[in-house]
C-alpha cells in the first residue's frame, strides 16, 4: 500500500497531474472528438474534405510541409557552422558568449522579434537598402508578405532549437579523435569530414527534427510575415475557429496537425537513433 515516502511522492505529483489533466488533456481530448461531429451525427466528412484534392486543404498541408522543410534546411545552413564555431572555441568564456548569443533571442519576446523583422525586411527596409547600396541587387527583393519572408523569419526564430541540441551532441565528441586523424596525416578538412561530421550527424538530425516539427505548428511568425499570402495549417485552424466559427472543422485540422507531428516525430527520432548506432565510436561513449 502507499505508505510513508511513497505516499509523499504520490501526493507531490498529484496537484500537477490533476492540473494538466483538467486544463490540458481533457480539453484537448474533448476538442478532438468534435471533429467527428460536423452535425449532430458521427461522420468523417471533415476528414474527407481535408483530403479532397478539389479543396485547398491538401495543398495547404503540402505547403506547410515544404515551408517547414525549407526552414529546417535554412537552420542547418546557418546553424551548423555556428555550432562548429562553438565546438572550436577553446576558452570557456568564448563558448558561454556564443551560446548566450543563441539564447538571447530565445528569451526576448517572439512577438517583438517578429515585428522588428517585419520592419527590417520591408522593400524600403534596411536589408534591401544595404543590398542595393553594395550593388548585390538592383531592385528590392520582396521579403515580407511572401513565403521567403516566412522562411527567413521562422529560421531566425527556430535557430536556437537547432543549435542547442546539436551543440549538446558535439560537446560530447572527444577532441582527441580529430587530433588522431590529423596525426595520421589528414589535413584539416579531411579530418573534419572523417571525424566531426559523422559524429555530429545524430545531433543534426535531432536539431532538424525539432525545427521541422515546431515549424509545422508555428503560428505567430508565418501569420505576421506571410501577411495572409502564406496559409499554413496553423493559420487555417485559427481562421476556421475564429472567423468561420467552424469548430468541428478546426478540430479536424488540428487532429491532422497533431498526427503529422507525432508521426514525423517518431520516424525522425528512430532515424537519429539509427544514425547513432552507425556513427558512434567507442571514444564518444567513454567521454559521456
Amino acid at each position: 500500500m502507499l505508505k510513508g515516502k511513497n505516499l509523499n511522492t504520490f501526493l507531490g505529483l498529484l496537484p500537477a497531474f490533476l492540473f494538466l489533466a483538467a486544463i490540458f488533456i481533457w480539453p484537448v481530448l474533448k476538442f478532438v472528438t468534435i471533429s467527428f461531429y460536423p452535425d449532430e451525427t458521427f461522420s468523417m466528412d471533415n476528414y474527407q474534405t481535408i483530403i479532397d484534392p478539389d479543396r485547398p486543404y491538401l495543398e495547404i498541408m503540402t505547403d506547410t510541409f515544404r515551408i517547414s522543410i525549407l526552414t529546417a534546411l535554412a537552420c542547418l545552413v546557418i546553424g551548423y557552422p555556428y555550432a562548429v564555431a562553438i565546438y572550436r572555441a577553446t576558452k570557456r568564456w568564448q563558448k558561454t558568449l556564443l551560446i548566450g548569443f543563441v539564447l538571447l533571442p530565445f528569451w526576448t519576446s517572439l512577438l517583438v522579434r517578429t515585428l522588428a523583422f517585419m520592419q527590417l525586411l520591408q522593400n524600403t527596409g534596411i536589408v534591401n537598402n544595404t543590398l542595393i547600396k553594395v550593388s548585390l541587387i538592383a531592385d528590392p527583393v520582396q521579403m515580407v508578405r511572401n513565403e521567403l519572408g516566412v522562411i527567413i523569419g521562422m529560421s531566425y526564430m527556430l535557430l536556437p532549437f537547432f543549435v542547442l541540441p546539436l551543440n549538446g551532441v558535439m560537446q560530447r565528441i572527444d577532441p582527441k579523435i580529430e587530433l588522431n586523424a590529423r596525426s595520421l596525416g589528414a589535413n584539416r578538412f579531411q579530418a573534419f569530414l572523417a571525424t566531426i561530421l559523422p559524429l555530429s550527424l545524430p545531433g543534426v538530425v535531432v536539431g532538424l527534427t525539432i525545427v521541422f516539427l515546431l515549424s509545422l505548428g508555428f503560428y505567430v511568425t508565418p501569420v505576421m510575415l506571410g501577411g495572409g499570402n502564406v496559409p499554413m495549417i496553423s493559420s487555417i485552424i485559427a481562421r476556421q475557429f475564429d472567423k468561420t466559427l467552424n469548430y468541428s472543422f478546426a478540430s479536424a485540422l488540428s487532429v491532422v496537425l497533431i498526427l503529422a507531428t507525432m508521426v514525423f516525430g517518431l520516424v525522425l527520432w528512430g532515424l537519429s537513433k539509427l544514425l547513432e548506432k552507425f556513427t558512434a565510436y567507442q571514444a564518444t561513449e567513454e567521454v559521456a
Binding site: F19, F24, W26, P105, T108, V112
Partner: protein
C-alpha cells in the same frame, strides 16, 4: 605560425560575426525604432525623440494592458509554483519509477502545437465563462509554465546537499524546522529562477492570450497582436522595447542570482 592560424580561422570568425549579427540585430534595432521622431515605424529612424514613450505611458489603454499582463504573469507564477514545486520534489525521490515519462508528460504542452492548445482551451473555457478573465488566462499560461518551473527545480534538487538537512536534524531540529530553516533557504535561488522563467513565459505569451484573453482585459502582447496590422506607429516599438527591457532585466536578475548562490 600565428598568422597562418588566423587565416585558417577566418571562416569560423566570419560565421560567428555573421550569425551573431543575424541573431542580435533585430533585437537591438527595436530601441532606435522606438525613439523615432517620425510618424511611422522605420529603421533607421529619421530623428530621435521620446514622444512615443510619453504617448505610451499617458495612454490608459496601453498602461492598462501592461498592468493586466503583470497581473496574469503573477497569477501564473503562483499556480506554477503551487503545482510545480511539489511535483519537482516528488520527481527527485528515489522511489519513483518512470521519471522520464512523467517529466515528458509535464513538458507535453510545450511541444504540443500551441495553436491547437489555444483553440481547444478556448472551446473548453467558453461555457465556463473563463474567456477574458485573468484567472482563465493564467490557468492556460500555467500549462506552459509548469515544465519551466519543474525542470530547473529538479536540477537544483539534484545538486542539493541533503547532508546539511541531516546535520540539522542531528543537532536537534524537527523535520519541519529543518525544512524551513535549511532546505527552503538553500533552494531559494532555484525557486526565484523558476519564478522568473514562469513570469517571462506568461508575460510575453501571445497565442493563448489571443484566444483566451479576449474582451476587456487585454494583455500587452494581445493588444499588440490586435493592432499590428493597422497601427504601424512607433508606439509598437515602444512596447516592444519595454518588453525587451523587462524581460532582459528579469533574466539579468536571474543570472545575478545564479552567480551569488552559496554553492
Amino acid at each position: 605560425m600565428k598568422f597562418k592560424n588566423l587565416l585558417g580561422d577566418l571562416p569560423r570568425w566570419l560565421t560567428i560575426v555573421i550569425v551573431g549579427f543575424f541573431l542580435i540585430f533585430p533585437i537591438i534595432a527595436i530601441l532606435p525604432m522606438s525613439l523615432s521622431s517620425g510618424g511611422s515605424l522605420s529603421f533607421p529612424p529619421p530623428g530621435l525623440s521620446f514622444k512615443w514613450y510619453r504617448e505610451f505611458f499617458e495612454s490608459p489603454d496601453w498602461t492598462g494592458s501592461l498592468w493586466v499582463s503583470t497581473q496574469v504573469a503573477f497569477l501564473t507564477v503562483f499556480f506554477c509554483l503551487l503545482t510545480g514545486i511539489p511535483a519537482a520534489f516528488a520527481l527527485e525521490s528515489e522511489k519513483l519509477r518512470f521519471k522520464g515519462a512523467i517529466t515528458a508528460f509535464f513538458a507535453l504542452p510545450m511541444v504540443f502545437p500551441v495553436i491547437v492548445s489555444a483553440v481547444a482551451l478556448s472551446y473548453f473555457f467558453a461555457p465556463l465563462e473563463l474567456i477574458g478573465t485573468k484567472v482563465g488566462l493564467a490557468l492556460a499560461h500555467t500549462t506552459l509554465g509548469l515544465p519551466v518551473v519543474i525542470l530547473p527545480t529538479v536540477a537544483a534538487l539534484k545538486r542539493f546537499e541533503w547532508d546539511l538537512v541531516w546535520q540539522a536534524r542531528n543537532l536537534g531540529a524537527g523535520p519541519i524546522q529543518a525544512f524551513i530553516g535549511v532546505t527552503l533557504p538553500l533552494l531559494r535561488p532555484a525557486f526565484i529562477t523558476a519564478s522568473l522563467f514562469a513570469f517571462v513565459t506568461s508575460f510575453d505569451e501571445v497565442i493563448l492570450a489571443e484566444f483566451i484573453g479576449r474582451g476587456e482585459n487585454l494583455t500587452l502582447p494581445k493588444k499588440i497582436w490586435e493592432g499590428w496590422r493597422f497601427e504601424q506607429e512607433p508606439t509598437l516599438a515602444v512596447i516592444a522595447s519595454l518588453l525587451v527591457l523587462v524581460i532582459m532585466s528579469l533574466i539579468s536578475a536571474q543570472v545575478f542570482i545564479q552567480y551569488n548562490k552559496s554553492d
